[in-house]
Amino acid sequence: MAELTYRDALRKALADAMTENPDIVILGEEVGRYGGAYGVTKDLIKEFGPERVIDTPISEPSIVGAAVGAAMTGLRPVAELMYVDFLGMTMDQLANQAAKIRYMFGGQIGVPMVLRTQGGTGRSAGAQHSQSLEAYVMHTPGLRLAMPATVADAYHLLRQALERPDPVVFIEHKALYTMKEDVDLGARPPAWGKAAVRRQGKDLVIVTYSRQLHYVMDAAKALSAKGIEATVIDLRTLNPLDFDTIREHVERIGRAMVVSEGAMTAGVAAELAARISEECFDFLEEPVIRVAGEDIPISVSPALESGSVPGPQLIAEMAGRLLA
């Protein structure tokens, strides 16, 4: 057991994987000398050299496109987008190229790359640096999507992503980098694609991922004090989606809430709610409740920023009312 931050767990995952696999290269803005805007790649350039830790110009479309080409020619690139908000510039290379190449070319070749990035609110960074855009990725056939909520998952999911045969978008949360946990990295992690049940309770199931897991756990604690016990499922990966785990608990409990930081409309929460509603219909005693980001841009004003996304209080309040 060692105390580690989310940031350091990510860094260690990269370092360990790079030590084992010489084909892994990192490319992105400020990943080398600067060590990454959020410090995740700190000193990796010293350890692995500039041929494997490549500082790029500010050219997001071509960073992702170069990763595609590198992946097709025998490397295993980790491209970094400094903010998930820049996904918009790269969606052509990501969704039209990386995601479709194996398919379009009839299975001749895959694109085993990882696109690492970070999203979410918490730094007063404004409308173009605070978004949660995982829904764009989840909606795109051909892409895998991992979003670690814990320090252990930061490590394990990134290691696993670096073994996958297909492109993985790996979205960290900017508010989690300094979070610490005691972790035993030697312990066997859950398999890739498996959700984790973070808490068991008989009254309702809350399905979530990434930073919202922590808000949900806080809410669950508050609910517990009032005698309401929630089962909390952390999805860990949104593609693959471990619906079996969701189904098992929802069918048993009959009440479900989904929580996501992304904007509500046509977002991840919509998919989860739709899926639960259709697959577990006969078991549901109440509608599946979506607690998600407001359908508005994010402000720099800290009050408006935190008001724009779910927090423990809203989650607990709505869960309480669902059971009232």
Binding site: R33, Q128, E294, D295, V300, P302, A303
Partner: protein, 353 residues
């Protein structure tokens, strides 16, 4: 200084403007120092604050070449440009503090400040994001026959972004009244310009696309102002241009960056290339203004800028309900809050369930 200055007549020597250029630069310097202070005092909204100290000649020199009808976009390091254009430093500072009284009512902050009254079409937190807008502004100017030039301000780092070349190509093809103004402070975060591109003579690219292209030393604001006038005038006449102003980013990229990737000697030399000090020395050297007068001006500016901090601290945060405002036009319904939706769903439940 609360209104944009009209440019001097084309072709005029700019020497006579030096006192005014100095004053503008001094105000930018002082304002940015106050932003740093506001941050230290924990009164900014976040830490993504990018000071333009060291780059004042670009702000002063280029805005001096612009006319009232002209428009512009800026980047994440755009305080100085906006102030030089005539912004109210109090409303700027309040915006940086995320306050209701700010230019954007606390929604935009440092990186998304704008003022349509001054033709400021907006700062941008996307490197290169504001560049193509000037092509559209150029199309408007042509269709509206309003003789306006539109200037895109951006950093050397934005030369990595493809949209710059797309936009330059369009501007050249259509002969639009547009200027691409690149503030080359030698760094994009921790990446020195020669670590981001093989040919650092950036203006050569513009020429290859068919624009006027120049690089100029930002130490001397008069040189900047003259080059800007040449290029803005040509743009107004239908030949778009590109101007790279070479300068040095005195401090870290954002407030928390201590620039460990630069060595002390380099920083020292870079900070020697101070356009404000250079202009000051020249004003005295030319006998245009006395040192004591400049001291008095500097103090007056310092007091004005001090007041922006007090003003900002005294302001309120925007009300929570304002969150749903201005997603769409005021004539349209606001997006439904999650809470309202859930209240309805859960109320129905309680009635029917």
């Amino acid at each position: 200084m609360s209104k944009p200055k009209g440019a001097s007549a084309p072709g005029t020597k700019t020497n006579s403007d030096l006192p005014e250029l100095y004053r503008t630069m001094r105000r930018v310097r002082s304002f940015e120092e106050r932003v740093g202070e506001l941050f230290v005092r924990g009164q900014t909204a976040g830490s993504m604050l990018h000071l333009s100290i060291g780059e004042e000649s670009a702000a002063a020199g280029i805005t001096a070449a612009m006319k009232p009808q002209d428009t512009f976009t800026t980047h994440h390091r755009g305080h100085g440009i906006f102030l030089a254009r005539g912004a109210d430093p109090k409303r700027m500072m309040a915006e940086i503090g995320g306050k209701e009284a700010g230019y954007c009512h606390g929604k935009g902050g440092s990186m998304h400040i704008a003022d349509m009254g001054l033709g400021h079409l907006g700062a941008n937190a996307i490197v290169g994001g504001g560049i193509p807008a000037v092509v559209g502004a150029g199309l408007s100017a042509r269709r509206k026959r309003n003789n306006a030039v539109s200037v895109a301000f951006f950093g050397d780092g934005a030369t990595g972004q493809g949209v710059l070349y797309e936009s330059m190509n369009m501007a050249a093809l259509w002969g639009l009244p547009v200027l691409f103004a690149c503030i080359n402070n030698q760094y994009g975060m921790g990446t020195r310009i020669d670590q981001a591109t093989a040919n650092t003579a950036l203006h050569e690219r513009a020429i290859a696309f068919g624009l006027n292209g120049e690089s100029v030393d930002g130490l001397d604001v008069e040189e900047v102002a003259e080059a800007a006038r040449r290029l803005v005038d040509a743009a107004r006449a239908g030949k778009p241009g590109f101007l790279a102003v070479s300068c040095y980013r005195f401090y870290g990229h954002a407030r928390k960056d201590k620039s460990p990737y630069r060595d002390a000697a380099e920083e020292e030399a870079g900070r020697q290339r101070d356009p404000v000090a250079f202009a000051r020395a020249r004003l005295i050297e030319r006998g245009l203004v006395k040192a004591a007068e400049l001291d008095a001006l500097d103090s007056e500016i310092a007091r004005e800028m001090d007041a922006t901090i007090d003003f900002t601290i005294a302001q309120n945060e925007p009300p929570l309900a304002s969150m749903f405002r201005d997603v769409f036009d005021p004539s349209e319904p606001e997006p439904e809050p999650v809470r309202t939706r859930l209240n309805r769903v859960l109320a129905t439940e309680q009635e029917n369930g």
